[in-house]
Amino acid sequence: MAEILISQAPKNHEKRDIRLAELALSARNGSESAFEDMVKLCERGVYELALQVSRNREDALDISQDTFIKLWQFLGSEASLDEIKSWYSYVLRMARNCALDFLRKQSIRRHDSLSVADEDGERKDMEIPDDDISSDPVLSYYRSERIEAVRDAINSLEDDYRQVLVLRENEGCSYKEISDIMGIEMGTVKSKIFRARNLVKEYLQKRNIF
């Protein structure tokens, strides 16, 4: 049997949470640079999750801004910081709530694919560039075709399945973190990730991509 890499829940997440907790305390004590460092640690994850929920770049930017404004307001409040066990999960959960709130207020309809409006107002598929292109043109073609198909497969998933899968694969979140962010039970996280992977597999199989 070929060697299969088992990805352990990354320990660097624990370090990140410890760092965020330190920064949160400094930010509460008035350090603007500490708050900015918190932003730097979380902004990518916040934006990606916002994008997955809103499926629109500009909205994801607005949601990201809203999230960090809320975080700043929270840090400026009297709320206890001790209750927060995982700061990264807390911020991403805040981001998800902001995104859902944003969508409700905007009455945005569900899109079938990631799309942006071009200058004529027509919606077109958003391109997610693949940064990892092999130098071999034939291999490049097959690899990029596959990546394209995998991306289409993920976009075809229902929102919850897509979000848990992206949080797991792109953010490397543990099941506990995903449970906290999405507000669902750990058992549900486990089954949704399995189901999402299975759906992607089936999508690719139907298109003869293995």
């Binding site: 049997m1 070929a2 299969i4 890499l5 088992i6 990805s7 829940a9 900015e36 932003v39 902004e43 934006y47 990606e48 929920v53 770049r57 930017l61 990201s64 801004q65 809203d66 404004i69 700043w72 307001q73 929270f74 400026g76 409040s77 709320a79 206890s80 807390y90 959960r93 805040m94 709530n97 859902l100 709130d101 969508l103 409700r104 207020k105 309809r109 569900r110 997610i128 693949d130 940064d131 990892d132 596959r146 990546i147 995998v150 993920i154 229902e158 929102d159 919850d160 992206v166 792109n170 099941y175 507000g183 486990k190 990730i193 399995f194 992977r197 992607v200 597999k201 690719l204 293995f210």
Partner: protein, 280 residues
């Protein structure tokens, strides 16, 4: 042979979700032992595991393009909020919110507002709810949903002021409760009665007799009264604008509406939080 195949499939079924969790390093030592043993002895599950591992690598190759100005835009927004002194309080008055969503009750008029609560909301996808039944419904729901969400955000915002550490939990509850929309119907204190559907902008008349006939009814009960009612046409008009699985409720004045909404919300969706509210 067939029996062995069935047993084997049953065995595999037990491990399927664990295959995925094993890939993610989420199993304890005992579970890891079992799954490794199964994969070593089951070609199908081993193939599935390898497929999942390959997919995992592919998904990681899909990079989201992060806007180059993401950080600067975030910090500019936060600094702007600081400069404005924004502190999360919901400053807009009820009047402003009502006007925002097209509830055009005349100034000074004593309005009677019919509040339709959603027991099991029909909403567009993405919130774990059922999709609206058809595109026409979605158009009607949109404005209504905004209004309800705004009202309950207002409620959550109020609570956030008094019990800030619970604010996020309450906001979660508001969203998880999946509060839908309100249909609003209103009538003046004078003889002219009317109602407006907040989404459709329709204005028609509605009598006391009609409103009393379906006060407090859920849609099923209200619907059952239609055929035998002397106000059949009017009931149909009203119910046509009420979402399926709503409860129709009238309040005497516009200002009662958020209180009633909160009561409904607490009773129906936040029984655990009801205690929290009373502790405020």
């Amino acid at each position: 042979m067939m029996e062995n195949d069935d047993l084997r499939r049953e065995e595999c079924e037990k491990f399927l979700e664990s295959l995925s969790a094993y890939l993610d390093g989420e199993l304890d030592a005992a579970e890891v032992g079992k799954i490794k043993n199964h994969i070593d002895n089951c070609a199908e599950c081993r193939a599935l595991y390898e497929r999942f591992a390959a997919l995992s690598a592919d998904i990681k190759n899909i990079k989201t393009e992060i806007p180059a100005d993401l950080h600067s835009r975030i910090m500019t927004a936060v600094r702007g909020a600081k400069a404005d002194g924004a502190d999360g309080k919901k400053g807009a008055s009820l009047q402003t919110k009502l006007r925002r969503y097209g509830l055009w009750l005349g100034a000074g008029a004593a309005a009677v507002i019919c509040l339709a609560m959603i027991g099991s909301p029909i909403f567009r996808g993405g919130f774990g709810m059922d999709l609206a039944k058809n595109e026409n419904d979605v158009a009607l729901y949109d404005a209504e949903i905004n209004y309800a969400a705004e009202e309950h955000s207002y409620y959550a915002g109020d609570l956030a002021e008094d019990v800030p550490e619970k604010a996020l939990e309450v906001e979660d509850a508001v969203m998880e409760a999946q509060m839908g929309a309100f249909d609003t119907y209103s009538r003046t204190e004078n003889s002219e009665h009317y109602y407006s559907a907040s989404g459709g902008g329709v204005t028609k008349s509605c009598s006391d007799e009609v409103s009393e006939e379906i006060e407090g009814d859920d849609m099923e009960t209200a619907g059952s009264k239609v055929q035998s009612s002397e106000n059949k046409d009017k009931l149909l008009e009203i119910l046509d604008h009420v979402m399926t699985e709503s409860t129709v409720h009238f309040v005497e004045t516009e200002s009662e509406m958020p209180e009633i909404a909160e009561d409904f919300a607490i009773q129906k969706f936040f029984p655990a939080r009801g205690e929290l509210i009373r502790q405020k």
